[in-house]
């Protein structure tokens, strides 16, 4: 019958209208922003920020100014100037640091490629999106002071990811410490061996020279072992 299609359609709209207020399974889908806010999804990404570990944000930046992200960023919106001097990073290794680190948010397309390519877990995605500004250029060009955020912030917004990142950093630090320790031990061992050799050599050589010799140096055994033929 002509018109049944229309009547059926009207029934659907009526049901939806009433249902959005009274059907608990299919409630209203909109919310009143900004009074009501929906928490961002854990994976949500907006713009990058720089992670720092210590109280002093500028001292604790993880970024070592390797410029990989600057090179890989597809729209080229990162700008880095390397430092001339070095300072110790979280592993205790001497590294460069960024004197300038600017990101132009008006160009950034939130693609997350900088995060993926960074080998130092230094740059991560933030979930902050209310960045409207009256200055189109300057206002959206953020420097390293504005970009730096503590690791706690990262743990808060991306807990799962941060756990993985923290774990891998912990492994790195442990490795670095183990290596440092091994280095120290190896040095000590080498030194001890050298000392023993030197002593042995000195015992064979003329009395009076070796015992007063200073802390063993790598060259000492050679000099000492060269002595006997002369004696």
């Amino acid at each position: 019958m002509l018109g049944t299609g229309i009547l059926k359609g009207m029934a659907v709209t009526a049901k939806n209208f009433v249902g959005s207020y009274h059907d608990s399974e299919h409630p209203l889908t909109t919310s009143e922003y900004p009074e009501q806010r929906i928490a961002p999804k854990e994976n949500a990404r907006q713009f990058p920020f720089l992670v720092h570990d210590t109280e002093d944000a500028m001292k604790g930046l993880r970024c070592v100014a390797c410029q990989i992200c600057e090179k890989e960023c597809p729209p080229q919106c990162i700008y880095i100037v390397k430092s001339k001097d070095k300072r110790a990073d979280y592993k205790g290794q001497m590294q460069l640091y960024p004197v300038t680190f600017d990101i132009d948010l008006s160009v950034c397309m939130s693609c997350q490629i900088c995060v993926e390519v960074c080998p130092f877990e230094a740059i991560k995605m933030d979930t902050e999106f209310e960045l409207s500004n009256t200055d189109r250029f300057g206002g959206l060009l953020v420097n390293k002071h504005q970009l730096a955020k503590p690791n706690e912030h990262y743990r808060k917004i991306h807990p799962t990811e941060a756990a993985v990142s923290d774990a891998s950093l912990a492994v790195e630090v442990a490795k670095a410490q183990a290596k440092a320790k091994a280095d120290v031990e190896a040095k000590a061992k080498a030194a001890a061996e050298a000392k023993a050799k030197a002593e042995a050599a000195a015992a064979a050589g003329p009395i009076g020279t070796a015992p007063t010799a200073p802390a063993p140096k790598p060259t000492a055994p050679a000099a000492a072992s060269a002595a006997p033929p002369a004696a």
Binding site: Q76, I78, Y79, I103, D104, S106, V107, F137, G138, L140
Partner: protein, 214 residues
């Protein structure tokens, strides 16, 4: 029914279109989609053969592309026999050949009726100097209409026999062909907050110009 090998297609196309100069362009990537290069004069006849042959029936032209190759020096390692200190020896030499640049129109053909493909057809122009002409295949496949217009627009290849060859993406008054490898961008600098590298150099030039002008 599986598609014939490219060699078989080539042999049959040569038999069907006398005088056509067909060559196989090898593709070294793992997918091994080899293609047929055809001379511009016989492109239409060969394409018609590919479309109407009952075993091929390539009734669907999926993709039309232009490619630009600049003049280049190709170096190839060849083994030559030479007299070295009176003894004949085999020596590896790097042979350098000059390759003249050319433009290319590439057609990816499939068959909707027999559900096979692709057969790739390439038309190469003798050189890069304007005007570069190839044969339009729009009368055979309507789908080439907009795509050939696009190749004309971005590469400046003229398609003989195209019904409506106009610019499609760029505006009508635009002069150059932006997809060519030797295209130079116009110097229409806009202020950018983080200029670096080439952009920084350009920004400085503009800055200087402004100061001089002020």
């Amino acid at each position: 029914m599986p598609l014939e090998t490219i060699e078989q297609i080539l042999a049959r196309a040569e038999a069907a279109v006398p005088g056509a100069q067909l060559t196989i362009v090898k593709n070294d990537s793992p997918c091994a989609q080899h293609s047929l290069a055809v001379d511009v004069e016989h492109a239409y006849a060969v394409a018609q053969f590919l479309r109407d042959d009952p075993q091929l029936r390539l009734d669907y032209c999926s993709n039309v592309t232009g490619v630009d190759y600049l003049d280049a020096e190709l170096s190839e390692k060849v083994k030559v026999k030479k007299l070295v200190d009176g003894v004949e020896k085999e020596v590896e030499e790097v042979k350098k050949t000059q390759r003249a640049g050319y433009l290319e129109a590439v057609y990816h053909l499939y068959s909707m009726a027999l559900k096979h493909g692709p057969v790739i057809l390439r038309q190469r122009t003798p050189g890069r100097a304007d005007p570069v002409r190839v044969t339009s295949l729009t009368p055979l496949w309507r789908s080439a209409e907009f795509q050939e217009r696009e190749v004309f627009d971005l590469y400046g290849v003229l398609f003989d026999g195209h019904p409506d060859l106009r610019r499609i993406l760029m505006w009508d008054g635009f002069k150059d062909y932006p997809m060519r490898k030797d295209y130079v961008e116009p110097d229409d600098y806009e202020y950018e907050p983080t200029p670096h590298d080439e952009v920084l150099a350009r920004a400085k030039a503009h800055q200087a110009a402004r100061e001089v002008g002020a």
